[in-house]
């Protein structure tokens, strides 16, 4: 149990999971949650339709035709029944004292039609009266890798994920669960919360903030019902761990009758931005920026200053990398005199440069002891806070294909640096357009915990965000 006594603790650490109303031929929810059994928990089905039961039993899942018959305490239920039935299922869950449920069922207030609104109101009234932990409706529910609970069968089932993620959108929740895996960023707990009519983003955020297994929190949010509660919870969370907020959708200003100058200037998005800064949150604009800064936080040392050593391979790239980092607000200073003296001892200035940014391919020429020597010099340089290294996806990658050991040797050198140095390392594999090969070697970076980015701009953006957070 990771937040003992918290009202959401059982739901977020389930041992007994029930899927209600899953249907063939795919039985997507039972399939998504097969991991529960692998992790030593109990997975049950509740389905009254005799046509569906045979398929469920064939999967080796015990089916009940009444929720009341499910043995033991239910920690988490995923409900996928038609909307008219949803309030009845909720009634049964409340009667059974279940610890929580997510309603995949949609067709509620989001339809803006009378029946949907009425059914939703009915559920809200029941859940509130019973203090029931209802996630959604109109959501994908929970993804809890350690417990084997998933909303997508391809998401990782690791036991030691460190990142919590909350999403108002089901799509962004699913995408994040997959994109994070591809980037070696593993999740501890994740919730897609949909209409959030009972448990809202603040309730879920509070749990992740208190959860000791979650070291970093990310979220996709479009709007909140209770702004003050969100402000207070976000501030509390940011005091405990990095929180990345990807705010989607610019609220329409609408026709606001204002009499003061201040009110006319206070656009909703400006207030959101200010609120997030006030809390100390890391703000992002899209999925890429979100995963990028997370990847850096998870894999890198905490930055203490803006001064970059830029280790590029060639002259043209040394200019591009400098533009990108400088535009992101980072600094590219001169090296110390000592560094120049040390680099001057071996640097090949014909076709190269040992000014910062370095143009080093001609000097390194595939010799890892030379790369290591350069890394040691910049590590010792008092003018430098962080190191960015370009690995050329167009040139070096061609030789790695012929000789995979050359890539391993490069990564070992970078990993050794990362293990001994306090200065954050950020790696750029650019230009990353020969996608198939780049994807084939991604695992090698993940294994070694080396944060790698497909462009200078994305690397610089991640560094700037992490630094702003770390020095706030």
């Amino acid at each position: 149990m990771s937040v003992p006594g918290h009202r959401l603790d059982r739901m977020f650490n389930p041992k007994t999971v029930v899927v209600i109303g899953d249907k063939g031929p795919g039985y997507q929810w039972l399939n998504n949650n097969k991991g529960v059994v692998e992790k030593g928990g109990n997975l049950y089905s509740v389905q009254v339709d005799p046509n569906q039961i045979e398929g469920i039993e064939k999967m080796g899942v015990k089916n009940f035709t009444s929720l009341a018959d499910v043995p033991g305490e239910i920690d988490y239920a995923l409900v996928a029944v038609p909307r008219q039935v949803a309030p009845l299922v909720l009634k049964d869950l409340i009667a059974k004292n279940a610890h929580g449920a997510a309603f995949f069922t949609s067709g509620f207030a989001e339809t803006r039609e009378e029946l949907g609104i009425r059914l939703q109101d009915q559920m809200v009234t029941m859940a509130r009266a019973a203090n029931f932990n209802l996630v959604g409706p109109n959501c994908m529910g929970l993804y809890l890798p350690k417990a084997g609970v998933r909303f997508n069968g391809d998401a990782a089932l690791v036991d030691d994920g460190k990142v919590g993620f909350l999403s108002q959108s089901g799509t962004h929740g699913i995408m994040f669960s997959l994109v994070s895996k591809a980037n070696g960023v593993f999740l501890s707990r994740c919730a897609s919360f949909g209409n959030a009519v009972v448990l809202d983003v603040s309730d879920l955020l509070e749990y992740l903030a208190l959860d000791d297994e979650t070291e970093v929190i990310g979220m996709y949010v479009e709007g909140v019902r209770d702004g003050r509660k969100f402000f207070q919870t976000l501030r509390m969370a940011c005091e405990r761990k990095p929180v990345i907020v990807w705010k989607g959708g610019q609220t329409e200003a609408g026709a606001r009758a204002t009499m003061s100058h201040t009110a006319s200037l206070a656009a909703p998005q400006a207030i959101w931005d200010a609120m997030m800064r006030q809390c100390g949150a890391i703000t992002t604009n899209n999925l890429d920026e979100t995963i990028d800064v997370m990847k850096l936080i998870i894999n890198s040392r905490r930055p203490v200053g803006p001064r970059m050593a830029l280790l590029a391979q060639t002259g043209g790239q040394s200019v591009s990398i400098t533009d990108a980092f400088a535009k992101a607000g980072l600094v590219v200073p001169r090296f110390s005199d000592q560094s120049y003296a040390d680099l001057g001892e071996f640097f090949n200035v014909i076709g190269g440069s040992y000014q910062n940014p370095l143009d080093m391919a001609g000097t390194v020429a595939g010799k890892m002891d030379t790369l290591d020597r350069i890394l040691r010099i910049v590590d010792a340089d008092p003018n430098i806070d962080n190191v960015a290294v370009e690995l050329s996806a167009m040139f070096a990658a061609r030789s790695w294909r012929r000789d995979p050991k050359a890539l391993d040797a490069t990564l070992d050198t970078l990993q050794n640096y990362q293990q001994r140095s306090q200065k954050p390392l950020i790696v750029i594999l650019h230009p990353a357009h020969e996608g198939e090969y780049i994807a084939s070697i991604a695992e090698k970076f993940i294994e070694r915990h080396i944060p790698v980015f497909p462009s200078f701009e994305r690397a610089a953006g991640a560094m700037a965000r992490y630094l702003a957070y770390a020095t706030n």
């Binding site: 702004g227 009499m259 201040t262 400006a270 207030i271 800064r277």
Partner: protein, 232 residues
Amino acid sequence: MTFQSVLTQARSEHRTLLNEVEAKQVLGEAGVSVTVTTLATSADEAAKQAEAAGYPVVLKVVSPDIAHKSDAGGVKLNLNNTAEVKAAYAEIVASCTKAVPNANIVGVAVQHMAPQGTEVIIGMTTDAQFGPVMMFGLGGIMVEVLKDVSFRLVPLTDRDANQMINEIKGRPILDGVRGQPASDIAALKSTIVKVAKFVEDHPEVRELDLNPVFAYPDGAIAVDARIIVAEA
């Protein structure tokens, strides 16, 4: 007059807008530095109050029906003696009556004309999602055209107020550029924090503008103020 009595008065008149005299009075009570402003209902009264305020003085129309005082000819600056004050009083009443024929002209606000400082705006509004929010920005065209302003949710810490000031793009102007004197950042910060505290203490306040506040090398003072309260 306390905030409560000003509020009661406004509500009895079905007003949500507190006039400049009222707004400055309640803010002054909350420790916010404002130019002392009194309400005159005759030219003679205005002349008497001008003597007390000290020349030069400024006269501004007080009317719930006139939002843009300058446009209606309701503002007279840099008045230096009794004769000028009396004449200005009459001119204000005449031109406002002409500009807004049925306007209820309560009187004219009299105040000492503060020396020009660096103009800033300090304001507050109530956001539909997040409640009371403070705003800070440079005055004049910086706020009108560039919307170079920063926001923070109430309640505010000193750190929040500091960040509000440092966040605006025009921040170097407050350090003094091209021979202009630097502004007293501590005084601005303290004004922001006091206004935020005032707002926190009085949830009836929905919107508030101190526009402009004059910032000096030593101190800062609000020379105009308006407050909008929630309907009863």
